[in-house]
């Protein structure tokens, strides 16, 4: 039972990790929050649905196409939401990304309507047993795809010339510019990368959880909570945070299955709604007591 829950949590956490990673990459590069990041997940889901219905291919084959389309969308996105405002306070970018998020949401609504849609599965929707637990092919696929993408992202950032430039831009834009890095190009690339990761997450989540045009808000909050737990700006922290959230979301409502007495004591507590509320309350508590994240170190701030 517990193993089954952990397997489900891992699949969900893997998708969240992609989402949170893209969020942090853009955050680090621009210093601004991309509020439309959740809407990029949503957009990725709909792009997958659209392509799936035309091409009739499984998700695994659609994935490179979706990632490419979403990367392009990320480029365009930065052109509207970031570059006109790059010399303004970060809050301006926050608002412009809200505006683009609204445009994404309502465009999706105009095209597909508000009813939930189901995205194509990565390979098949079958299950197979393994050591007493049932694992969906989709869940396993998500984990594999997420690991591949996270490793690829890590290699790109830490083992390639362009990754070095991306990191330099994120760390100190002026200095990067001074040593001849084309900073604007790097930032646009970061938006493309973040959008591509969000799109991949969208493709995979749209099969398991379906997708509606307004799902974005929920996803951006998930990314945000993951990043807050992991420490603002930390890539590995974001992945850990995503796994923690997913574990909590999957584990908490099924606690009564693991510990039957709970079902009698407080059946109302262990619902999806209550777990979401608890997650937010936990977030507020973390921000209040450990604003540097669960793993961050306390550093005395020097003025």
């Amino acid at each position: 039972m517990l193993l089954q829950i952990l397997a489900n949590a891992l699949a969900l956490g893997a998708a969240y990790a992609l989402l949170a990673l893209g969020f942090v990459l853009i955050l680090n590069a621009t210093g601004a929050v991309n509020f439309a990041h959740g809407d990029m997940v949503m957009a990725g889901g709909y792009v997958a649905i659209a392509m799936g219905s035309v091409l009739q291919l499984p998700g695994a084959l659609l994935l490179p196409l979706v990632v490419a389309v979403m990367a392009l969308l990320g480029f365009v996105f930065s052109w509207f939401a970031y570059f006109p405002l790059k010399n303004r306070p970060p809050v301006s970018v926050f608002i412009s990304t809200i505006a683009l998020g609204i445009i994404f949401q309502n465009s999706a609504n105009a095209i597909y309507g508000a009813a939930p849609r189901k995205g194509p599965p990565l390979l098949s929707e079958g299950n197979f047993g393994m050591g007493g637990i049932t694992i969906g092919a989709q869940a396993l696929g998500i984990v594999v795809v997420a690991i591949v993408l996270i490793v690829a992202q890590h290699l790109l950032l830490n083992r390639s010339g362009i990754g070095r430039k991306l990191r330099a831009t994120a760390q100190d834009r002026e200095m990067a510019e001074a040593v001849g890095i084309r900073v604007n190009r790097m930032i646009a690339l970061t938006f493309a990368l973040g959008s591509a990761l969000a799109g991949a997450a969208g493709l995979m989540l749209s099969n398991t959880f379906f997708i509606t045009p307004t799902d974005g808000t929920n996803y951006v909050i998930k990314a945000y909570i993951a990043v807050t737990i992991g420490g603002w700006g930390s890539l590995s922290g974001a992945v850990c945070g995503a796994l923690i959230i997913a574990l909590f979301e999957v584990l908490f409502p099924s606690l009564p299955l693991l510990i039957p007495p709970l079902k009698i004591i407080a059946p109302w507590l262990f619902t999806q709604t209550a777990s979401t509320i608890l997650l937010y309350v936990g977030l507020l508590a973390i921000m209040f007591f450990r604003p540097q994240g669960l793993f961050g170190e306390t550093v005395q701030r020097r003025v």
Binding site: F80, R88, F94, A99, L100, N106, T217, Y280, V281, V303
Partner: protein
């Protein structure tokens, strides 16, 4: 009488006020042209959104914090009215008050963890609060009616009087808008308004002149919640149903769009924005339900092209096309810096055995020194010797690990309240209801003129601070500190970036203020500037006080020379 008429005429002609007055007249005439109940209802909803946005301007415009919870406060207000009037049959005199009180309580509760967060954190945290409330509204079916909500909300009754559909509720809503506008006008004028501007633009500067920026933000957040709660209550009585839609993000989006499009700090902006955004779907019926895309485009276009909104844009155009004479400079009345000192003969500032460590680094290692009233005291030392840390301990930005700091006999270091308000009377925050003819406001302006004259830069009084040259800016910063009539002025490298002429001039003027009783503690590397200026000096090195005395003694002290030049045996990197 004639003078009053003339001043009113003058007021109404300045800025964009002629347009503003025309707008009010048109707004008042509009309802008389309405022919259908539907038009009245739209106009009522315009008023409700104007009220919501007026409230949102407090936190978003005046405090400069992007809150995403205004829609939530609105929804909570609407639910309180819906639940109380449908389930308990309470009248408007209760429902409206409670609809204001509950969002207020909610705001006070969530302010503790979220309000001190930086902008993006704050925005997302407030969004999380909104999601929680939405989930509660959907799942607590017994109370809220779940996803279907509550219908059959009666019209608004106040003390037995019914304000039903049409003109009744419309009148109530617009009276509330007028009152809200008045409250907003009162609060954001005068000293309190000035405090809001400086807290928003430069928090550190605001803190340094004794403005409690956290307190201001808190007050703005609570005000915004109250306005939203009232708007929500009126909304429930207008559309007669309340459902989770009232808590959905779309309301917040509309509110944000109204405020950005209209103008984030202009009262007229909230009303103009509400007129445009509420009517947008009416005017462009062809867009059907996709008007939200148009909201998004409008929001994006405005934030890029006109961050201060349409009203801000009008003001800019007016200033460009019809430039006005700048307002007259206020008269300067001199004040003296010595106020009745509690311990007449003792030192003004006394630092006793202050220690401060950063991890293993000893930034201050048992420093003691005193500054007398009217004395200019120079603090020197090589880079990293602890000078600025010392300053930060005195001002309370850092807390010392041990030791104490006495100002005029009071231990300010263990008294956070005193430290927070700086070295002066906390006049700013107390003048919450500051009007135009507030004596404190008058005194602040006269003080400002006096210190600007004293520093020889009175001519800048009519310029924007951001447009000044570096040397002038530096003097304005010093004037900002002096305008509060302090007894002690702390300066960290005031001569940096000034040319020699400017340095001499600054030294002369500081000396003149010191003769008036002001004590000055100067940190400086520039010895040609400091040596003739200071009466006493002290030198820090690696957190130790290695010398204290007159400038001549310091100049001759071998320890000081060694600290600055190093000795051949011991070269420090």
């Amino acid at each position: 009488m004639n003078a009053v008429v003339r001043s009113v005429m003058g007021w109404s002609r300045s800025g964009i006020r002629p347009l503003f007055i025309l707008g009010i007249i048109l707004l008042a005439l509009w309802p008389t042209l309405m022919t259908s109940a539907y038009q009245m209802r739209i106009f009522t909803i315009v008023g409700i959104y104007a009220l919501l946005s007026l409230g949102y301007q407090f936190i978003f415009g005046h405090a400069g914090a992007l809150s995403l919870t205004q829609g939530t406060f609105f929804g909570v207000g609407a639910y309180v009215t819906g639940i109380l009037s449908v389930r308990y049959g309470l009248g408007g005199e209760f429902t409206v008050l409670l609809s204001i009180a509950l969002p207020l309580a909610l705001a006070a509760l969530i302010a503790a963890p979220v309000l001190r967060l930086e902008s993006h954190y704050f925005a997302l945290a407030t969004l999380g609060v909104g999601q929680v409330m939405l989930l509660v509204a959907i799942s607590w079916q017994d109370l809220t009616g779940g996803a279907n909500g509550l219908s059959g909300i009666p019209g608004l009754t106040l003390f037995g009087l019914e304000f039903g559909k049409g003109y009744g509720i419309m009148a109530v809503v617009w009276v509330c808008v007028a009152m809200g506008a008045f409250v907003s006008w009162r609060i954001t004028r005068g000293l309190y308004g000035a405090a809001l501007v400086i807290s928003r633009e430069n928090r550190i500067a605001a803190l340094s002149i004794g403005i409690d920026t956290a307190q201001l933000r808190y007050a703005m957040f609570l005000l915004s919640a109250m306005f939203a709660g009232l708007a929500g209550a009126l909304y429930a009585h207008t559309i007669r149903v309340v459902s989770p839609e009232a808590l959905e993000f779309a309301i917040m989006v509309a509110c944000l769009t109204i405020t950005v499009v209209g103008g984030r700090t202009h009262i007229a902006g909230a009303i103009l924005g509400a007129i445009l955004i509420v009517n947008l779907p009416e005017w462009f019926r062809a867009m059907e339900k996709y008007y939200l895309i148009a909201y998004g485009i409008a929001l994006l276009a405005m934030i890029v092209a006109a961050p201060y909104g349409l009203i801000g844009l009008l003001e800019q155009w007016r200033a460009k096309l019809l430039p006005e004479k700048p307002p007259a400079m206020p008269p300067a009345e001199p004040f003296i810096f010595v106020r009745a000192a509690r311990s007449a003969a003792g030192p003004l500032l006394e630092i006793r055995d202050v220690h401060k460590h950063f991890g293993g680094l000893k930034a201050l290692n048992g420093i003691s020194l005193t500054v007398a009233p009217g004395q200019i005291f120079g603090l020197i030392g090589p880079n990293g010797s602890g000078k600025t840390t010392m300053l930060n301990v005195i001002t309370g930005i850092y807390r010392a690990d041990s030791g104490s700091v006495y100002l005029d006999g009071t231990d300010i270091h263990n008294n956070v309240a005193v430290v927070r308000y700086g070295f002066d009377n906390a006049g700013l925050v107390q003048t919450f209801a500051a009007g135009r003819i507030d004596p404190a406001w008058k005194r602040a302006r006269s003080n400002a003129m006096y210190v600007l004259e004293g520093l020889g830069v009175a001519t800048v009084a009519q310029s924007a601070a951001g447009s000044l040259a570096y040397g002038l800016k530096r003097k304005v910063e010093i004037a900002r500190a002096l305008a509060l009539e302090p007894r002690l002025l702390l300066l960290d490298e005031p001569a940096a970036g000034l040319n020699e002429g400017e340095q001499l001039d600054l030294a002369d003027r500081l000396r003149a203020f010191a003769r008036g009783g002001l004590a000055i503690l100067v940190i400086e590397h520039n010895m040609p500037f400091l040596m003739p200026l200071a009466e006493r000096m002290a030198c820090l090195d690696y957190g130790d006080l290695i010398a204290e005395g007159t400038p001549a003694e310091i100049r001759a002290n071998p320890l000081v020379i060694e600290a600055y030049l190093g000795t051949p045996e011991e070269k420090r990197a």
